[in-house]
């Protein structure tokens, strides 16, 4: 028996007496643009809340991520790491949106949002330790490269199964609401992952529970080889949110000022009114899906070129220079310094050994149960017998 009065939800829409089918044309989703490619501002556009310090921090993160992505893709080709994913072309989306958050707002990302983590202050050497799965990796060398995470920086560890973070974000945000915190969760995902059942479950629950969450879709045109034209038949992802009772906005994902503005407004709605929001950032995955992929098999160079001209980093640089906050000389200097720092950190991380064999069984549970300890003991005895076959761990099997 219900203790409080409940009622079935009634529609307030008008009644008609002849069939009227509604379709997508009844709902148009405009795209917010603030910054032109040449660095000028569209007439009438309202700027986000941004000062020189924030602008330069965003741009510094852009430059760092470019240096990291370019270097690590080369490192994968050289066989130094096993796998990598770049976010080239999408920097404005994750970095611009994270820049709108409080530093303790939880970030739940998909995997192509290393920029958000860098903006939060994840140190370069930590990036490298994860990429090299060495013993200093916070994730203890257990996950493939790019699966970062940091509880200190409120960045939930990446999980490869797509879409799973979406309903989790709703739960995390509900926790904020219970504790009456002035925080929200931002949840990043691709337009491909938005086809998973978890996406629909998540935004429905977010609407019903009215949680402080921002669902941030990076609509970059592709899910591996599958173009968005084969991913959905409707007008992108934003309109779906409306049907589930969320507010939605579409932005030019290569326009960092538009992304920042939209996310600042969304955060207010989420934190002050417990109004969940979905942001759809229209962008393009300029690189391959991952180092295991070659896009020449499924898309044209011409299409790539068209998007290369909309480079979000260059666009923002033009604006910074026009503001008098940045110069080409500084730009070249900083880019060079970043490249050198990345190279040096990579060389350091390469020297760090693999995690100790004892870490094979930790964290499966809070403490290793007896059967796992027995399995580890048997494994160690085996490795002692065949040390050459297990070079990563044999050398220091009997000491820390």
């Amino acid at each position: 028996m219900a203790t409080s009065k409940q009622s079935a939800k009634q529609s307030e829409a008008p009644v008609v007496h002849n069939p009227v089918f509604i379709d997508g044309s009844d709902l148009t989703t405009p795209t917010l643009k603030i910054l032109r490619q040449d660095g000028s501002i569209y007439e009438g556009a309202e700027l986000p809340d941004i000062d020189k310090e924030l602008a330069l921090k965003i741009y510094d993160t852009f430059q760092f991520i470019r240096a990291l992505d370019e270097r690590m893709i080369a490192a994968q080709r050289q066989g130094r790491i096993s796998f990598y994913m770049t976010q080239i072309g999408e920097e404005a989306a994750d970095i611009g949106s994270t820049a709108a958050l409080a530093h303790d707002d939880m970030i739940m990302a998909q995997y192509r949002e290393q920029g958000a983590l860098a903006f939060r202050g994840f140190p370069l050497d930590q990036f490298m330790h994860q990429l090299f799965s060495n013993e200093k990796d916070l994730g203890k060398g257990r996950q493939m490269p790019i699966h970062y995470g940091s509880s200190e920086l409120n960045y939930m560890t990446i999980s490869s199964p797509l879409g799973t973070q979406l309903p989790q974000a709703v739960g995390y945000a509900y926790g904020y609401k219970l504790e009456e915190k002035d925080n929200c969760v931002i949840c990043y995902f691709g337009e491909g992952a938005a086809s998973e059942g978890d996406f629909h479950a998540a935004i429905n629950m977010a609407g019903v529970f009215k949680v402080p969450a921002i669902f941030f879709c990076r609509n970059n045109g592709y899910a591996i080889s599958t173009p968005s034209s084969e991913q959905f038949a409707g007008d992108g992802i934003a309109p779906r949110a409306v049907a589930y009772g969320l507010k939605a906005i579409r932005v030019d994902g290569n326009d960092v000022l538009a992304v920042l503005k939209a996310t600042q407004e969304a955060r207010k709605l989420a934190v002050e009114h417990n109004q969940p929001v979905l942001i759809e950032a229209m962008t393009y995955r300029l690189g391959a899906h991952s180092t295991s992929d070659d896009p020449s098999g499924y898309r044209s160079k011409k299409e790539e070129e068209k998007w290369r001209e909309k480079d979000p980093v260059l666009r923002f640089k033009h604006w910074l220079i026009q503001q008098g906050w940045w110069s080409e000389e500084q730009d070249a200097e900083v880019a060079d310094a970043k490249r050198k720092a990345v190279m040096a950190a990579m060389k350091e991380a390469e020297k760090v050994p693999a995690p100790h064999i004892d870490d094979l069984i930790t964290d499966v549970y809070d403490t290793p149960p007896k059967h796992l300890q027995d399995q580890l003991d048997a494994l160690k005895a085996h490795i002692r017998k065949y040390p050459d076959a297990y070079p990563k761990t044999a050398g220091r099997i009997d000491h820390e």
């Binding site: 257990r142 491909g192 992952a193 998973e196 085996h382």
Partner: protein, 325 residues
């Protein structure tokens, strides 16, 4: 005959199945134009058109639900799940729907035409989510057949048999061997029987049993044991459900010993099921405890994947222990 790798053999089987039966369709994430992330469905869209070989939206739950619907209408869908690690969003559609479709309706309806293909297994630096061997979740579900090939010849014959078998069948492909395993494969249409194990090598001292990519590992272990004068009978189970109890029992009654090896964790792994059955059928013949050499009871690691794997050395040691018990 022509020399093919495992992927080419699978592609060839799909091609033959689609060519011979217009009710056969292939679909899944990136399966269409691109031919799948491993290229198992290369050129099938060109050949048979977009209506029979196509990309689906990115939803495993949707893919298998859609496939169940097609199959219940008499079509023969071959659905690809990009990695076995990503089969779990479809778990409900497989376990509660596909597996029970026939039984719950008194055979008014069935999805016997359904085949699910999915690459499984470790050894490609895949870490937690590109390495798992989830076969035991499905062998424990009555109504599903589970098939795993070890090489190109087996893959083609078993896949064609799985597609044409009138039961929902999960066909797990050892992705580590996709390009590494090559061999002579007949160009024509042929099937290998489901439910039948394959004795790869006869022996007298111990029966060594596995499936899929593990057979390559076991061949090495068995060769090492042979140098010590141990004669192993090597068996590829091929179909895990329903499995060939008779062939395995006969072998163990002859050798008196059994070792079972798989990459999946020990606890709840399919080796446990086999061991329980064989101790019933062979109790008085057994001269040593049935040995299991498997992955550890942990998620699949990355930095320690070599340590985790039930490699040839661990199997060799276990063979020796069993024989000198």
């Amino acid at each position: 005959m022509s020399n093919m790798n495992l992927l080419q053999a699978i592609n060839n089987a799909l091609d033959i199945a689609m060519d011979k039966d217009s009710k056969v369709l292939c679909f899944g994430e990136d399966v269409g134009h691109f031919g799948g992330v491993f290229r198992a469905t290369s050129h099938l869209q060109e050949k048979y058109g977009k209506s029979r070989c196509f990309n689906t939206p990115l939803t495993e739950q949707g893919i298998i639900g859609f496939a169940n619907g097609l199959a219940s209408g008499g079509h023969k869908p071959i659905a690809e799940i990009q990695f076995a690690d990503y089969i779990f969003p479809a778990f409900d559609q497989i376990v509660n729907e596909a597996a029970k479709f026939r039984y719950r309706s008194g055979n008014e309806f069935n999805v016997g035409g359904l085949t699910i293909r999915s690459p499984y297994g470790g050894g490609i630096h895949g870490g937690l989510y590109h390495s798992q061997s989830p076969e035991a979740y499905f062998t424990g579900t009555p109504g599903l057949k589970v098939v795993i090939p070890r090489n190109p010849y087996q893959a083609k014959g078993l896949l064609l048999a799985s597609i044409r078998d009138d039961n929902p069948t999960i066909f797990f492909e050892p992705k580590r061997l996709y390009r590494a395993s090559t061999g002579e494969v007949p160009e024509e249409d042929y099937e290998l029987p489901l439910g039948k194990a394959d004795i790869m090598q006869e022996g007298t001292d111990i029966t060594v049993l596995g499936w899929g990519a593990q057979m390559e590992v076991l061949e090495k272990a068995v060769a090492m044991a042979a140098e010590d004068g141990i004669s192993c009978e090597l068996i590829d189970l091929r179909t895990l459900m329903p499995w060939d109890v008779e062939t395995v029992s006969q072998s163990v009654q002859k050798t008196g010993r059994l070792l079972i090896s798989h990459e999946a964790p020990l606890s709840g792994g399919f080796a446990g099921e086999i061991a329980a059955t064989i101790q019933e059928t062979c109790f008085l013949y057994l001269e040593s405890p049935i040995a299991r050499v498997t992955g550890l009871d942990t998620p699949f690691p990355l930095a320690h994947d070599k340590e985790y794997m039930p490699d040839h050395l661990k199997n060799y040691e276990a063979i020796k222990r069993s024989v000198s018990f």
